[in-house]
Subunit: 347 residues, 4 copies
């Protein structure tokens, strides 16, 4: 089968012919329909410090996908819950099920997590094998949406964790694809006011399409002053830090209301100076670090939003390429002009 492979240490990827993966007794073999390309894939392409420290090439890349079941292992077949031909997506974090985190509702933080396309072969290929327990039927969700439920799930996790969104004011700081999804999730979840900020006007336009009530460009707008103005002086109930920019953190803390919450998804590449007394303690803030998707409450809520039509992430998809266009896909992401970029692999 065809697969986009990191052949060895160093930049780049190759489209190669590799053996179709085997399907163990608890596994499901899936014919990939489409896959999302992620910032992580750019790091892997560029072979940065993180990538070179973690990946063991050769490896098939790609962790966001949807497709149709081609084959079921004996145990998965015996369960009778999945069938050949089912349209499915899958959680790409494969976890141990036995550690403290797995046993207490925090599988997304499993100490033995193995991520497809990072720690084992991924989804930029004609087929991928997944444990049946990671696989979910789409049941009416279009395959092209299914292919990006991984990053939409990051947004759902970020927006819904820990607070009561209905009636609240949500500030999304950073409008990459996941930030744009977060705007849509917050509206779907009943937020009264969604504010989005980014330096890139194209991204702010996508955020508006996804439902942001107010978009701010720190290049032009006094972001904090405007947020205070539209929240009656209180600040935002929830801040979703999606930029990963060190300057974003100070702004995130200052934008939150007293007793508010800052959920952090964007991963800064360097450390940040924090005035804990002034910004966190005296203001009674809660901070939460977002990793992956909660398994599987995030997927459940996301599926409800998608099936009801409350949330449609497709306006964020700006580019589509065939599997052999992986270099172009990586290029448009690097360029900073893309929303979500997808690979269309099978009809």
């Amino acid at each position: 089968m065809r697969a986009v492979v990191k052949p060895g240490p160093g930049p780049g990827m190759e489209l190669r012919d590799v053996p179709t993966p085997g399907c163990g007794p608890s596994d499901v073999l899936i014919r990939v329909h489409a896959a999302g390309v992620c910032g992580t894939d750019l790091h892997i392409w560029e072979w940065d410090a993180w990538a070179s420290g973690r990946l063991k090439p050769p490896l098939t890349i790609g962790h966001e996908f949807a497709g149709r079941i081609e084959q079921l292992g004996a145990e998965a077949r015996a369960e009778g819950l999945l069938q050949v031909g089912d349209a499915v997506t899958a959680e790409g974090h494969i976890v141990c099920g036995h550690c403290l985190q797995c046993r207490t509702g925090n599988s997304h933080l499993c100490v033995r997590t193995r991520i497809i396309g990072v720690d084992r072969d991924g989804a930029f290929a004609d087929f991928i094998a997944m444990p049946a327990s990671n696989v979910m039927k789409l049941e009416g969700i279009p395959l092209e949406i299914g292919a990006i439920m991984d990053p939409v799930g990051n947004a759902v996790h970020t927006v819904l964790e820990g607070g009561s969104v209905p009636g609240s004011s949500v500030f999304v700081l950073g409008c990459g694809p996941i930030g744009c999804f977060a705007c849509g999730v917050a509206k779907a979840a009943g937020a009264s006011l969604v504010i989005a900020s980014d330096l890139n006007d194209m991204r702010l336009d996508l955020a508006r399409q996804m439902g942001a009530d107010l978009t701010l460009n720190p290049g032009r707008d006094d972001v904090l002053a405007r947020i205070r103005e539209v929240t009656g002086g209180d600040g935002a109930d929830l801040v979703c830090e999606m930029s990963g920019h060190p300057a974003g953190h100070a702004q995130a803390f200052a934008a939150a209301r007293l007793g508010g919450r800052v959920n952090l998804l964007g991963t800064p590449s360097r450390s940040t100076e924090v005035d804990f007394a002034r910004d966190i303690i005296f203001r009674g803030l809660t901070l939460y670090g977002v990793t992956g998707r909660k398994m599987y409450s995030t997927w459940h809520q996301m599926s409800r939003f998608l099936r009801s039509g409350q949330l449609d992430p497709r306006p964020v998809v700006t580019h589509r390429f065939p599997l052999e266009g992986i270099a172009d896909a990586i290029a448009v992401i690097k360029d900073g002009k893309a929303g979500k970029v997808m690979l269309e692999i099978a009809p």
Copy 2:
């Protein structure tokens, strides 16, 4: 001033001239603009067992209202947070602030609760005096909506308590005014599917106007079968029991999904037979008895919904009367043909 008074034991009320209430140091005197008429007022009119056991006439009736501040007591004035002329509404439950319930976020269950229009003089009058701490500025919410925030708040409390509404399926059992409000609240809070049932088609029509996706009439529809059908066989995540009908309880439990929640607001006039093992324990249900409004998180969330336009309760208001029309107002409620009934007291 004019006031609708229960003059003594027995049915009926009278429009009388009574002294304007005094305004203590912590009090606010409010000129009433409009007031809602409630099922409770019907019980008081009819002098049923509950009313005759609790009220000590003569007493001014009415507990749902909005108006403008006419006068401030010395301490309320010193606080500087309320001003003469402010458009306000108020929580009608006056609580002690010292009991276990008041000290732990459950003031709505204060053992010393005194309700306006029930335990002390109420709002069907030109003026009412309220403790400043019970008074909230409307800040953009129209006075006619302010006048029914008490029952809208019952709906907010019922829908939002204890579960995560975004993406969920909500079944509202019973479409009196509060049931209709609950449909609107559930939609505003991001429910994916709102199902409403009532035997009265006029009420189902109001429920649809408030946002119910599916309305069922038990006289025609197999309610449980239809709920299972539209929830993929699971049942509803949240059931709001607003009918108070003993038969409603069994249906409420059966309509909830395994692990679901039943919030009970409707107060049945007699006891109900419950099969706890089959209906509650083996199904892992949570039941919650709704009293009043949470002080004041319910009011806060409601205000957000109302100011943003996510929720507009006005379609439920079917009748408006002047203060002297109290007998007519009571009559249309008794008749069962009304949605919400209001008294318009001052321009």
Copy 3:
């Protein structure tokens, strides 16, 4: 191997020689050290309406056990987390992992639950095969305690669900083995006051040994009056209904404080009359139906209590029999004079 088997419809069980169960790729074969005998096993012995409607004999009985791993399936071995010889216990509810309940942290309510000793072969035998994901290492917890972690877990689930136990007052209504365990759990969890009631003084004595601060016998004591007295007139923060007696429900509701919680584990054999308005709604109570153990947060908290010595359930164990003594074990349970009864199967 030896196994206690329900051979066909009708009362009784038989000790038989049966084939050792096979061990599938995801399974673990366990040599049983000890097993707990439960009220459910008495229902199965007596072949009551529930048992005859659910069991399909022939079937090996028993669902509470601990033992040592004898053999690992290929996938379980590949995971590397369990080893031959490990002392283990297991959750006896085998769930599908795919339904709404399994996907949202409520596996204990899985619609496809299969219970060992009820729906598939159980643990009153020399060996039992279990899915590896249901198996937990004891890591320092004695095997004899491991054998009763199923019912201790019921108590943990009942006491810890939904409220904050530290500093609270807990009323345990019904002191069968799980009620007695609940007394110990409440003390371990920091309850300030644990009250236990039962008609049987032997059981009240066990409750005291497990930490109950006050024991009440409804045959002698005015239970509600005493609870009000020792709680400053408030009532109990949490009531654990463990009796399953229809009269227990009314008392449970009345004993809870305004805004309190009643967690229901005891399963009544008939329906109960409930005055919802007076007892649930006006009192703002929360009721919760307890099924099984939360998978696996209940097990995690229980393990912590057991390893630290905060909880020791052994005082509740009053009788121990060899596997061939199953008829005697059932007899002492039926007799009502036992606490927890165990079978000692292997050294």
Copy 4:
């Protein structure tokens, strides 16, 4: 009456004769029995940047106290809940009751908070006037304990916020008086393991007296390695950062388990470098800034612990002085050799 007063800008305090405070209609006048001296009082004594920016002298100092009611204002008397002679303590944060924070259960973050001994006259005096709603009856709690319920409440807030303490592992980083109280609170709340660290062995000794299972001195011990060792490699479920030392933050984050929680009470005097990606986001941590005491759930839980004897903070009290010994009291705190220091004002 006598009062310890900050007479004007600059270091020091004076014992002066000042008028007894007036008692407004909603107020209670309290004869002070004893008062706690706090690190904040040291800042005020020294007139540091914070103190000189906030206090408006002349002002009576002191915010931790207990005493007996001497006089009730007219409204407080009419309520009938407090009586002359009652032994009481009081929450020293006087809040507005109207802001978003006050209306949503976060009064401890009220934007208009006025603190006794900081923003208005305090408790190092023969009498203090307090709003009746801030006053709580001790009902069996000794007056000398009542006098330090303010800082014990900080510890209760820090330990109990946001997680389920029963069965958990708690690491208290910094053993000043509040850290020592936190050790006792964690044990009372059912923690399985309490670890405390400090550079000062005298403080570690107090922590042990309060219930710490393991004490670590970073001058001698590899704190992180030891924590990992005693938590089976997982790290602590809850870290209470009580040191306020910038180096404490990095250690607090590293000591928490994946998905764990860090509650921050210690206020660092300068900013801290944080690697959000590595320390917070990829580890799924929750951070929470602790201000004051939750009004009044913290007080309620604390009272339960104190009345039941589960918690006794008295071992932490190392020094007692008369009112005129304020300079000595400040000196022993500055010296770093004291646990909790108290002023004994009236018999």
